[in-house]
């Protein structure tokens, strides 16, 4: 891998801009990159205007800028964006990390000298994807045996990424109560109230005491009412329904005080990991813990392991989302409640988070992960490409089908993250 010569690295007061135009969860998952850059200089972060308050709460040392990227601005967006860009133009950035594969990001790249942009660039009107994100996209074409957490994907853009254990505090159960997130952005990744209720019941047994706080957006109020109705009568009194009632600051405070958060793959789940609050997540359908599981040590993901998992969220499910049924298995519910389980059910695994030298990884605490060794070989290869010490490869040979002829033959590919 080609690395930049030390002499060309920006000085200690280098100024960086990170462009993160995606949603709540993605913003929180940018943390490793932000923390790494903050160790080297002044860090600016550009986010959708609706997320500026959240970004300032999550990353107090970062200068946050907003842009009218998403929402229903109509034609007025031209004037709004023109104003938003004035603030950015006032700064001289040494490097711009443009993180999202989106037309909006490609357009924004044109404001900066092309050789200072990393990730997604616009060179003379041509969209150009750097080698690192291009490789990551290719890796995700076979998801079962591979897996690099999104926090690490973005974190490894930095020349000197911080160690994984310095990103989030280790999960510690110092708080009180159980938080329950109703639904993720993708409905198929969430559980209906009838399946979620037994999980909530079991999780409340696990922590033993405290309130049960329902969390979510306003659109989920009905689901919250149905969930409450589906809970045993003994638990209903403990429920505090905060769905649609929390500001970003409220959410920070509430989640930060929890003893456990039960959630599908959501922004609130990443927030809990950011704050060191233990997460018990349920991942099904297209959600895959090896890609977007909660970052840091001490979290658990109940990962559906149907033969078709993980699927593509853009395609319809030919099996009626059968993978969600594993979450009502008595063995799994006993495990969630903290009891000993003689026989863990098939097609699901309880994956515990830990870190290796590359980043966060998940290993089975209960159940079977048939691809663990292949994934370790993959992670060893990724570490080599990223130019950082990695886990030792295991005896299972690495699937190298992601390597293309162009990697070998054309310039600017397979140079790892310190590319171009």
């Amino acid at each position: 891998m080609q690395r930049e010569a030390a002499g060309t690295l920006p000085g200690p007061r280098a100024r960086y801009l990170v462009i993160q135009l995606a949603r709540f969860g993605d913003l929180i998952q940018t943390k490793r990159l932000l923390v790494s850059l903050m160790a080297c200089g002044e860090v600016h972060l550009l986010v959708d205007r609706s997320l500026t308050a959240l970004a300032r709460l999550a990353f107090p040392g970062v200068r946050v800028h907003g842009i009218s990227a998403h929402g229903t601005h109509g034609p007025a967006i031209l004037g709004l964006v023109h104003d938003d860009l004035q603030e950015l133009q006032a700064h001289q950035f040494h490097r711009i990390y443009n993180l999202n594969y989106s037309g909006l990001n490609f357009a924004l790249a044109s404001l900066f000298p092309v050789d200072q942009v990393r990730g997604y660039r616009l060179a003379h009107g041509q969209r150009v994807v750097d080698a690192w994100p291009a490789q990551v996209m290719r890796w995700t074409k076979v998801r079962t045996t591979r897996g690099l957490n999104l926090v690490d994907v973005w974190g490894l853009y930095a020349d000197q990424p911080v160690e994984p254990e310095r990103v989030n505090p280790a999960a510690s159960a110092g708080g009180i109560g159980l938080g329950v997130v109703m639904a993720g952005q993708n409905a198929r990744r969430s559980l209906p109230p009838r399946l979620l209720a037994p999980l909530v019941h079991a999780a409340s047994k696990r922590i033993g005491h405290g309130p049960i706080l329902f969390l979510g957006a306003g659109a989920e109020r009905r689901a919250a009412a149905e969930l409450r109705a589906a809970l045993p009568g003994s638990l209903r009194g403990a429920v505090r329904d905060l769905v649609g009632k929390t500001s970003w600051a409220d959410l920070f405070e509430v989640v930060g005080g929890l003893g456990l958060l039960l959630s599908p793959d959501t922004g609130t789940m990443h927030l809990a990991a950011h704050l060191g609050v233990p997460v018990m997540a349920f991942f099904l359908s297209s959600a895959w813990c090896h890609e977007t599981g909660p970052y840091g040590t001490g979290h658990l993901v109940l990962q559906a392991m149907a033969t078709c998992a993980p699927c593509l969220e853009t395609g319809s499910c030919p099996n009626g989302v059968l993978c969600r049924n594993v979450f009502s298995e008595p063995g799994l519910l006993r495990y969630v409640s903290g009891q000993d389980v003689a026989q863990f059910p098939p097609h699901v695994a309880a994956m515990a988070s830990t870190v290796d030298s590359l980043g966060v990884c998940f290993r089975p605490d209960a159940g079977i992960d048939p691809f663990m060794e292949e994934r370790q070989s993959f992670r060893a290869a990724v570490a080599r490409i990223a130019g950082i010490p990695g886990p030792a490869p295991c005896s299972v040979p690495l699937d190298e089908s992601w390597i293309q002829e162009r990697d070998w033959m054309l310039p600017q590919t397979l140079r790892g993250r310190a590319n171009e």
């Binding site: 031209l78 860009l85 037309g103």
Partner: protein, 424 residues
């Protein structure tokens, strides 16, 4: 300009005389207010050159060259898909395969070829002409009938021209006059008729510039820079520095000094646009382009020698003819004139413009002045559609300004949040 603004993709050839002409056309179309992008075929030329160094069998080389040509043609199609032009204007030798042209026909993308070659010397037009919607040519005679016979009824005469922003009078320093000047000068390739003719000029202060003169021992002392190609900027200096520029049209017919053909070469217009004096051999299409007092013409070798003797001694006559020739070019024979004619001819082939300039009314008032300046900088008229502005902004190289970035951002935002395709 009466015609609506169009988006035009110019497919340049990989090399050769029509390459600079393609660029002059693009510049002219921009002056006329159209949005122009080029398919930069010259960038692919080195790949074809590399194939020729393989030392493999001729069948294999043929196969490889054809395969590479298909890839280049696919690249043109990809560019068409991304740019969505109202017209694809191909210059002679543009790398568009028959398959690619058929695809454009199927997709109802109007195509035009400006065939700026001699159809008798380059007969390959027969296989390609029917696949273009329009075929502009620099010859008359039986050529339109021949085109009609092979299935191209929509051919029309479009003579060559000059670009006054490139070809214009220069005020040269004494040093430049010494470097580029001579009493007689010729710039061009060493075709057989030129070799024969110029042997009779060796008693003059003669300089020959250009390539393909190898093996011509008698003229070697007059050949400049060992026959290297001369770039356009230096050619214009040579035109301006020379007392008499010889403009002898090429001929490959053995033993023929003065070809007496029909079409008028680009050098005729370029020399005139420079205000340079030229002696040009008679062409049948010349009288309808220039009058007798706008160009000095010769019919034979003896006529050339007489004209040289006459004009070398008459600087006032040279200056008057050159001035009239330049005025005629500026009035009627620039690429802007040619492209105006071409676009008028093609108007019926292109779909009606559906672009809506009403987007400009929604621009905040404090941005209108900046936007007007941007439109002027991009060479767009004030009624440009949003999508045309986006294309023009995207075509700019390097780092963009705040307003340009905001325009690209709005375009992407519309794609993301508006279900229907943006207007053209």
């Amino acid at each position: 300009m009466n015609e609506p603004m169009r988006r035009i993709l110019i497919v340049l050839p990989m090399y050769g005389g029509s390459l600079p002409i393609g660029r002059y056309c693009g510049q002219a179309l921009r002056i006329l207010g159209h949005v122009v992008e080029y398919f930069e075929a010259p960038g692919f030329h080195s790949a074809f050159s590399a194939l020729k160094t393989l030392r493999v069998g001729t069948d294999r080389l043929d196969y490889l060259e054809n395969s590479l040509l298909q890839v280049v043609s696919q690249a043109v199609l990809a560019k068409v898909e991304a740019f969505a032009p109202d017209l694809v204007l191909a210059m002679a030798q543009a790398p568009l395969s028959r398959q690619a042209l058929k695809r454009l026909q199927r997709d109802k993308v109007p195509t035009a070829m400006w065939f700026v070659e001699d159809h008798e010397v380059f007969p390959y037009w027969k296989a390609f002409a029917p696949l273009y919607d329009t075929f502009a040519v620099i010859q008359k005679g039986n050529f339109p009938a021949c085109l009609s016979e092979v299935g191209q009824p929509n051919a029309f005469y479009l003579p060559l021209a000059a670009d006054p922003s490139v070809h214009h009078p220069l005020s040269l320093s004494p040093l430049e006059r010494r470097k580029y000047g001579s009493e007689l000068s010729f710039v061009g390739a060493g075709y057989p008729n030129r070799r024969l003719a110029f042997r009779q000029l060796i008693n003059y202060d003669l300089r020959i510039w250009g390539n393909d003169w190898d093996g011509e021992y008698l003229l070697t002392p007059f050949l400049q820079r060992n026959g290297q190609r001369i770039d356009t900027d230096e050619i214009v200096r040579i035109f301006n520095a020379s007392t008499i520029n010889i403009n002898l049209h090429s001929s490959v017919r053995p033993g023929t000094l003065i070809a007496g053909g029909d079409f008028v070469n680009p050098r005729t217009f370029e020399l005139a646009a420079c205000g340079a004096f030229q002696l040009v051999d008679r062409r049948t299409l010349l009288p309808e382009l220039f009058t007798a007092d706008e160009l000095a013409v010769f019919d034979s070798m003896s006529g050339l020698l007489q004209a040289v003797e006459h004009y070398r001694a008459n600087p006032e006559a040279r200056a008057e003819i050159a001035a009239r020739g330049r005025a005629r070019v500026l009035a009627e024979h620039t690429y802007v004139h040619r492209m105006d004619t071409l676009m008028a001819h093609l108007q019926s082939l292109m779909p009606p413009k559906t672009g809506d300039p009403s987007w400009l009314e929604e621009i905040p008032s404090d941005l209108r002045e900046d936007l007007d300046r941007l439109l002027a900088k991009l060479g767009l008229n004030p009624s440009a559609s949003f999508q045309d502005v986006v294309c023009a902004v995207r075509g700019q190289g390097g780092r963009l300004g705040r307003l340009e970035t905001a325009i690209l951002f709005l375009d992407e935002w519309k794609k993301q949040y508006t279900p229907k395709r943006p207007e053209k």
